[in-house]
């Protein structure tokens, strides 16, 4: 541990850490070992691309997980291969000087734009303002000049928790406001730093963005369902489930499906790449996936400890599980059928059967 701390303090990236970071990214990208030298070469030689990192409605958790929590070499590798011209959390400049840097890069150089955080749109976007401008204005100014945009985190991609119904500030993701620019979405709360680093390295090595799915997520990181790579999958197939948190089955490490795991509906590389260099991810430590890489997860994946959302009965304001609603409707139907039959029989008893 102490060793780890002192390494974190050392701002220099040594060759070993550099190679290690590149190798991790190559593994995440699914590149063969033979490609690693090319990746290393690109990372070492390419002119460091300028990156502008905008923070809007967010918690800075994505930056936090990228720069601190995970493998220290990853963060240093990242800072080594890009030139981070503007990033509110880590830049040394402040005030007018910072604004100066931003405008200088935007107006005079090609750059990659990274957006972290949702953009509130209600009432002309007054719910998020930086340097006297709304997030909407800043994005409209910077985005058209970017060579490509990377939206990092579930806020910048799909609006984030602040977009949960009834979405009071009208928060939306970058792709809802910007068109005509290549956009890569790296959702997650937070996303795995490797997915971000992999995207950047892919761009540096091959001069193009990675292949995306129809939600603009890179396939190398979001091409598979969590459920299909999960280490508890055998328990699922063989029907061994945790019934309740803390029960015997939970201690035995059975599948978390019945306590609301959203792995079957969620695309991400969590089970393969894992987090924080200690080889863990939520399911491995006994908590179901909450589906944070999927659009509207705050509405569609809740309640987190139920498998499916509750059914709302329009007008009535009643909220119940879908199956209870179904059972009620089926019961009413059966009762209606019974009454219908009884009326028919009663009528026949009174009037007698019509003769053919």
């Amino acid at each position: 541990m102490a060793d780890n701390v002192s390494k974190t303090m050392n701002p220099q990236l040594d060759r070993r850490g550099f190679l290690k970071g590149c190798t991790m990214a190559a593994a995440a990208l699914g590149l063969s070992e033979a490609m690693i030298p090319r990746l290393v070469e690109a990372a070492a030689n390419a002119e460091r691309p300028r990156v502008i990192w905008l923070h809007f409605q967010e918690c800075t958790g994505c930056t936090e997980s990228l720069l601190r929590a995970s493998h220290p070499d990853l963060a240093r590798l990242l800072l080594d291969i890009i030139s981070l011209d503007y990033h509110e959390t880590v830049m040394a400049a402040a005030g007018h000087q910072a604004e100066q840097n931003l405008h200088d890069t935007v107006n005079n150089h090609p750059f990659l734009l990274v957006v972290e955080g949702a953009i509130p749109t209600k009432e002309n976007g007054i719910y998020c303002m930086i340097a006297g401008k709304t997030a909407m204005e800043i994005l409209a100014e910077v985005a058209p000049k970017a060579s490509a945009i990377i939206a990092i985190g579930s806020c910048a991609t799909f609006g984030g928790v602040q977009a949960a119904a009834p979405n009071p500030t009208g928060a939306v993701g970058v792709q809802d406001l910007v068109s005509g620019k290549p956009i890569v979405n790296i959702p997650g709360c937070p996303p795995n730093p490797i997915s971000f680093l992999g995207t950047i390295l892919h761009y540096l090595t091959f001069n193009r963005l990675p292949v995306l799915d129809s939600l603009n997520r890179p396939l190398f990181a979001y091409g598979r369902r969590i459920h299909d790579h999960c280490e508890r999958r055998a328990h699922f197939d063989e029907g061994r489930f945790v019934e309740q948190f803390g029960d015997e089955f939970h201690k035995l490490g059975y599948c978390l499906y019945k306590v609301g795991c959203k792995g079957p509906e969620t695309f991400s590389n969590c089970p393969a790449v894992r987090f924080n260099d200690v080889e863990v991810w939520p399911v491995s430590v006994g908590h179901g996936c909450i589906g944070c890489t999927e659009p509207n997860f705050w509405d569609t994946m809740t309640p987190f400890y139920e498998r499916l959302p509750m059914a709302k009965i329009p007008g009535g304001g009643i909220i119940d599980s879908a199956d209870n609603v179904g059972k009620t409707v089926l019961g009413v139907t059966a009762a209606a059928v019974g009454i219908h039959a009884a009326v028919g029989i009663g009528k026949r008893l009174i009037k007698g059967k019509k003769e053919e």
Partner: protein, 214 residues
Amino acid sequence: MATYERYHCWSILLRLFHWMFALSIVFLVVTGFYISNPWTNTLLEGSASFPMATMRYIHFIAAYVFSAALAIRLFLYIFGNAQERILDILPVTRRNLNNLKMTFLQYTYLSGDHDERLGHNILAGLAYLLTFVAAVVMMLSGFFMLYPEISFWEGWGVLLFGSQQSARYLHHLLMWWFMIFAVIHIYLCIWNDCTEPEGLISSIFTGAKFKHKA
């Protein structure tokens, strides 16, 4: 004593569709309930039983039968015989509108008159059409969940449902329609069989109905 004549009504394909559809739905509902809320817990590890995998496997086989049945019905809506074509059950002609009204009155016991026709009455026909549409949604959401990595299903699925979870939720909610439909449907078949001596229930096995001699 009235005399009856035997009329051919349903082609063999339609009857095949009916039983493929009805039987697959029974399996789909039962296995669907299991997938949704597995009611067993395999306590012995290594006992080589795979209840969830097996239930899903049955669900998918039934799903293919179900989808094939839908393809048959689609074909018959366009190329079937006079009773099977879609125009026969749409309330667009005067004859059909009148039948809808009379069926409604008959089913609510407001009138004892039965509008004689060979095919479905319009109320039934519309319920079947609605069920067909619901079935198509089941099929689309089902295949989207089954093949999320195939770009065809991925593209259409995201476009139609937004995400796997939304597709799954809709798939689950719509299941209830099929159960409700089955209750009403079987009841009304029996009811009709008791009220009108046209041999309605046997028609879905034999393809023939009995009508008054003209």
